[in-house]
């Protein structure tokens, strides 16, 4: 599903050159639930951003769903992200000025779908994460766990093949973290969604199919 070959990412300033990812190759199969672990600053999020086509590697190639994404222009990248990928972030990234339902609808706004269709899909996604009674609430009226569920609903509303989750339980207590993890496991198991999750939590990581460990930008396990 995702093939990374010799990925290298270098951040350059006038005086400093930082190697964030050093020659990483990785194959992720369709329907796999993979977790990425490592100490802070080891390049986990950078790798996830590269897989999510939010960042470009300095060297190497990425193939997703058998497509070479390095040749995509900005428009094609945006369309690809919209249709194939879903994102979950540690800090949720919800728009506080929009109601829950409107937040979940966001990815569908960049597709050609009717308002009715968007509403139905968003409601369905919110039912899936157990928030059918919070459609008209604003994010600021929700708990951390509920906000992350909204973010998951937003990630799955477009029925992407891949979900990229950057420390989805990082801001939650263990009970809420487990709830979120359950939702992700069910998505993977029931819908066959490929999930790549960055985490600091060993317990969460061990619930996934495979664990990749990074250290100083290199793949160590």
């Amino acid at each position: 599903m995702i093939r990374l070959q010799n990925i290298e990412k270098v951040y350059r300033t006038d005086t400093v050159e930082t190697l964030a990812i050093n020659d990483i190759s990785l194959d992720i199969a369709k329907g796999e639930f993979l977790s990425i672990m490592g100490p802070s600053g080891c390049g986990k999020s950078t790798l996830l951003n590269i897989m999510g086509l939010l960042d470009e590697p300095s060297r190497g190639s990425i193939r997703i769903d058998d497509q070479d994404t390095s040749r995509f222009n900005d428009q094609q990248l945006a369309k690809f992200r919209n249709q194939k990928l879903g994102f979950i972030f540690q800090s949720y990234h919800l728009i506080n000025d929009l109601q829950v339902l409107d937040n979940v609808e966001l990815p569908l706004l960049y597709r050609t779908s009717s308002a009715k269709e968007r509403r139905e899909l968003a409601t369905e996604a919110l039912v899936k994460v157990g928030l059918s009674n919070r459609l008209k609430h604003f994010p600021t009226q929700l708990s951390g766990g509920q906000r992350q569920r909204v973010a998951i609903a937003r990630a799955i509303v477009g029925r992407p093949q891949i979900i990229l989750a950057d420390e989805p339980t990082g801001n939650l207590d263990s009970a809420m973290g487990n709830e979120i993890m359950e939702i992700l496991i069910n998505l993977n198991k029931n819908d066959g969604t490929t999930i790549i999750m960055v985490t600091h939590d060993e317990n969460m990581a061990h619930k996934t199919h495979r664990l990749v460990r990074l250290f100083d930008g290199s793949h160590v396990q």
């Binding site: 951003n49 999510g52 900005d74 369309k79 919209n82 728009i95 409107d102 937003r154």
Partner: protein, 390 residues
Amino acid sequence: MFRHLFKLIWNKRKHNVLFLSEILVSFLVIFAISSMLVYYYLNYRKPAGFQYEKVWAIGYSNPLKTKDKDTLSAFYDQVKSTLNAVPEIKEVSFSSYNFPYANSNSTTGFEYNGKKYNQVNFYQVDENYDKALSAKVVEGRWFKKEDRVMKNNFTVINTTLKEAIFGSQSAIGKLVGDDKAKIIGVIEDIKTGGDFYPAGYGGYKMLDSASFEWIGTILIQVTDNADAAFESRLSKLLARTIPNSNIAISHLTDLRDSKNSNTVIPVVIASIIAGFLIINVALGLFGVLWYNINQRRGEIGLRRAIGASGNSVAAQLVTESLLLASLSLIVGSFFAIQFPLLNVFDVPSAVYFIALLLSVLFIYILVILCSLYPGRQAAAIHPAIALHEE
């Protein structure tokens, strides 16, 4: 997407108060200035209605102590004959003080068929006035010398007054005014207040013998040979013909320039002040949009992640600004529309409607210009960095 953006704007309306207020104030200022400019432009496009070049106005004071009408009439007929005998003078006409481009006016009002006509400019002239100004009689006839002698209560009105009272019907023979003067002719509008003002309602009456006691203007149309040397000779001739009088010769071209300057200079000053205001507003809008974008880096990063291209992010921000501007324009237009509805300043409604359209267009262009660059900057935000900042 439009509905989504409107919802977003509506939910953030408190944050957008500054933006909304700036647009509203700018719109009202632009509406005021453009109303003025449209009014002046529409008037400017209309013909002057007479030939002002080679027309000189001779101002004099009546030196005769007598109040006897016949003596006065005979004296000024002699003055007219003397001037008519000068080869460089083509036409001579006596006029009241409110001749074209003079700083005097005389207005009256009357009722006709139950409708009031106010601010009717009232001119007292003689039988040569139309020729001296090369004015065109469009219906009926101009005064004849006999009209003075016969004591007929005749009047000539201008086209604006004729159309206001009679529309497309003929005005000839109708009786108007409190003194029931009979209309004998309709003359083309003469813009006496300068190029930027309308002729307004105009009514002309024949000077009678008694008028010579108080009128003080002779309009002369001169030939192309009339130069400064001639003006000097004319001045001496007048001093001899009307002794003990204060004579002043002025050219209608100079008076017209002066009248036009009196209109143009305040407009230029107001436009410069409005220009500075608009520059400040533009900088303010630019700053507000820039600030908003910096406050929304996370949201922009998110939108990029879930499927927005750089161009669609830029387009979204420009559209948001235009929607916000539209809210202010709706409020502003509500106030602006009161001007034609209430007939404020007695200006034609079309002026306000054209000014309204121009102001709306101007504000939209201003908003687009001010939001284009911040929009491009937003499009350039790197999604990975923006999402990490949050």
